[in-house]
């Protein structure tokens, strides 16, 4: 607990707060008169301001204060919410995010411009500057001694409200020398007495070095609704009256015992009924479940994951030793630990899973902005938001998805006019969906736009030399061309596309996650791009193989089948590396050659056929050792450029095995095949 940095907690919380504000604002665009949403947004702004000021984010607090003031007018019904206002606050919200991320950076005049927009939107004057940032100055005590005669009575209900008169008297005693006299004359007769009410008032003579304000400080919480008179005994002028106390003139001390206690009057308070009734929190910002969750920084989970990974490795070494031992006790302990570490690993995996809702929610804003930018009417539908995926996967998918959604909207969807002309409804629909299938999650981006124009793709590919003119291609091969580097079907690079991320980058990112992309596109009806991504990156099921003297892991999800490469076939295939597999020729790579092992091949070599969706390639290995659950360790920066391997793992005996990068190997196999074809 003590190691938690409140500033870090604040940043996390501010991010959530901003997300809630954004979600509220986006909902508000559709329902401008929804009071609950207005309240929710206001509350978000208010919290952000309050916490921001507490943790030293002063620029943020001051800026948010203005937004809050503007929004407060909406809340109070002085102005109504308009789409201009929502847009202005949305923009302001982005600025707040920047102020959270870089509180000290010079953000120039952005803040002023945004506030001006905001003011224009609510039609108000410049809001008063935030007066919340200056901590109270420490008071210096004057050395001079003063004497006061203090007389006070509290409202009858003050004890019930938690004010303890004895505490107040103690505080006065702390200020200096005190004589206290209780005035009990106002206590009613027994049959009229309400025992919980306070009927006693007090006379206190105080001699102190403190000044008058110290006395006010004692009564600070009750000053507004109590009777307090303070007279300076030796001073030239007497009778300083408490601010709210105009009705009750300070009674002379001699008459004090006879003075009736005035009834507790709280005229400046609104009646209790004015307090808003309990409200249901809007679903978008509901935090009702927050209490059941513990927020943990991602890097701590990664750390824990690392430890668990090491434990799994140590455990598998222990298993190996135990299985070679005859000590029954050792073997039973080893089995117990194997079970425990397995369970721990499973639990760990679940901890890292987060619902894709966190990813999808970002797109509401993107679609909102793109709709404004392009003038298209777009409806965003999200499905399967509760599907859970490893947090790291989600983070890495964010950019590719942004690109795909942009593409759908920019290239896929038609303008409202075009849509109506082709008999479609005016609003285009972009559907983001996620579902789990076995060890993979499938995330798809679907639009009901015009579909991919095959002729244009072909023309572009031919003109850029990707394919030869008239080269026969299957439909899926043709569509895959859009993933080629530098490929774009847009006639001109618009504002939306061409932002540095191309489809080739999308494909690379997905493949780095050991995933794959499928495209389906029907002309005139729309396109769907599906990303198939493994659920987690940390542990995979692998096939452990031996090539020469080294051991390697092939991700099991990519393995289609294993077969023996007979000596005869091996010899026959020399030079042209194909094997026939049920009437189709599959290119294969000899890993022994690839890794230059320099050893003699085993007599019974094996071929492991791996695939990435449609493409298949065989890998020739010396021996298949077996199924192996693998904790993936990333390789050092030095090995970043080694494309053949995607990572490394540590085996039970402590040695290292490299994990083969399936996507790269298949591409290499296909390339080899293509070369052989050209060579004839």
């Amino acid at each position: 607990m003590s190691t938690l940095d409140p500033v870090a907690v604040f940043r996390t919380e501010a991010a959530e707060c901003l997300e809630a504000i954004e979600a509220g604002l986006l909902d508000l665009t559709h329902q401008l008169d929804n009071k609950d949403l207005v309240d929710a947004v206001f509350r978000g702004l208010h919290t952000l301001k309050g916490s921001g000021a507490m943790f030293g984010f002063e620029a943020l607090a001051a800026f948010t204060h203005h937004c809050e003031t503007a929004f407060d007018r909406v809340r109070k019904g002085e102005v109504s919410a308009t789409s201009e206002l929502v847009a202005a606050v949305l923009a302001a919200q982005d600025h707040m995010r920047a102020l959270v991320d870089q509180p000290d950076a010079d953000h120039g005049n952005i803040g002023h411009k945004l506030l001006a927009q905001l003011q224009a939107a609510v039609g108000g004057k410049e809001a008063a500057p935030a007066a919340v940032l200056v901590p109270a100055a420490v008071r210096e005590a004057p050395a001079k001694k003063n004497s006061w005669r203090i007389r006070f009575s509290l409202p009858a209900n003050s004890m019930a409200n938690g004010t303890n008169p004895l505490g107040l008297l103690d505080e006065l005693r702390d200020l200096g020398e005190c004589t206290v006299r209780a005035n009990t004359s106002a206590i009613p007769a027994l049959d009229e007495l309400t025992p919980t009410d306070l009927h006693i008032s007090w006379d206190v003579t105080l001699t102190s070095e403190q000044d008058r304000s110290a006395i006010d400080d004692v009564f600070i919480f009750v000053l507004d609704d109590m009777e307090l008179s303070v007279e300076e005994i030796d001073g030239p002028t007497a009778a300083v009256v408490a601010p709210a106390d105009e009705k009750a003139a300070p009674a002379p001390v001699a008459a004090a015992s006879a003075a009736p206690v005035p009834p507790a009057a709280v005229p400046e308070f609104r009646p209790v009924e004015a307090v808003p009734a309990k409200r249901e929190a809007p679903a978008a910002v509901s935090q009702a479940k927050a209490a059941e969750n513990v927020r943990v920084p991602a890097e701590r989970l990664d750390e824990l994951m690392d430890r668990v990974g090491e434990l799994v490795i140590a455990q598998s070494r222990l298993s190996q030793l135990a299985s070679a031992s005859t000590d029954i006790a050792l073997r039973s302990v080893s089995e117990e630990i194997e079970r425990l570490s397995g369970e721990l690993r499973d639990t760990m995996m679940v901890l890292r899973m987060v619902p894709v809702a966190t990813l999808f929610s970002r797109f509401r804003r993107l679609v909102h902005d793109l709709a404004r930018e392009t003038g298209k009417v777009i409806e965003l539908v999200t499905e399967g938001e509760s599907t859970e995926v490893d947090k790291t996967v989600i983070e890495r998918l964010a950019d590719p998805l942004v690109h795909l959604v942009r593409n759908s909207i920019d290239h896929g969807l038609e303008t409202p006019g075009d849509r109506l002309a082709s008999g479609k409804v005016e609003a285009g629909t972009v559907t983001l969906s996620a579902r789990q299938a076995g060890g993979e999650v499938i995330i798809s981006i679907k639009d009901d736009g015009r579909g991919i124009n095959r002729e244009r793709v072909r023309a572009k590919a031919e003109s850029s030399g990707l394919i030869q003119a008239g080269q026969p291609l299957s439909d899926s091969e043709l569509l895959q061309l859009i993933f080629a580097p530098g490929f774009s079907t847009a006639a001109a690079i618009t504002n939306l596309s061409g932002r540095g991320v191309g489809m080739d980058v999308v494909k690379k990112t997905v493949e780095a996650l050991r995933g794959a992309i499928d495209i389906v596109s029907v002309p005139g009806q729309g396109s769907e791009v599906s990303l198939r991504i493994p659920l987690t990156l940390a542990i995979i099921d692998g096939l452990l193989v031996r090539v020469g003297s080294g051991r390697y892991v092939i991700p099991l999800s990519a393995v289609e089948e294993c077969l023996e490469l007979s000596l005869e076939e091996d010899l026959r295939s020399r030079g042209r590396s194909f094997i026939s597999l049920r009437d189709s020729l599959v290119p294969f790579l000899r890993l022994r050659d690839l890794f230059r092992t320099g050893t003699k091949p085993d007599v019974h070599q094996k071929v492991v056929v791996i695939s990435t969706g449609t493409e298949r390639v065989g890998l020739v290995v010396d021996q298949i050792i077996g199924d192996h659950q693998t904790v993936i360790k990333s390789m050092s920066k030095l090995h970043n450029n080694v494309a053949t391997f995607s990572g490394a793992t540590i085996l039970g005996d402590g040695s290292v095995a490299l994990i083969l990068d399936v996507g790269h190997l298949v591409a290499a196999g296909q390339q080899q095949e293509a070369q052989l074809r050209v060579a004839g």
């Binding site: 916490s51 507490m54 938690g162 919480f221």
Partner: protein, 122 residues
């Protein structure tokens, strides 16, 4: 035995600051994330002091104070609310609802402890 304090705030960072401050000052701290939870927690246990935020989802601090004051067992339990300068109106309403005192945000740990001591009568 040290006094036990219930803090009610929807902001995790403020809860953390409050908790660390009060724990270091020797108090026992229980947390709740909104008024509804605060109310339920207060009903199930007895606290020497409640510190609450006002603006919260589900149930705000104001409603929670009113509801607490309706419970005979909660009579006399001091309630301090956290407020910002701009909440003058809210402050009056919170006091009317039965709050004992307030602390203006942003606050420093020292002033929180000072006010807690003041209200608890040390």
């Amino acid at each position: 035995m040290s006094a036990s304090i219930l803090t009610v705030d929807d902001s995790a960072s403020i809860r953390l600051t409050t908790k660390v401050t009060l724990t270091n000052a020797g108090y026992r701290v229980t947390e709740a994330v909104n008024g509804a939870e605060g109310l339920a927690t207060a009903k199930g246990s007895s606290f020497d002091l409640i510190v609450t935020d006002l603006n919260m989802p589900v149930m705000d601090g104001l409603t929670m104070i009113e509801e607490l004051r309706k419970l005979p067992a909660q009579a006399g339990v001091p309630i301090i609310f956290l407020t910002t300068e701009s909440d003058a109106d809210l402050k009056a309403r919170a006091k009317a609802a039965g709050a004992t005192g307030w602390l203006t945000k942003p606050f420093d740990p020292e002033s929180l402890v000072k006010i807690v001591k003041k209200v608890l009568g040390r």
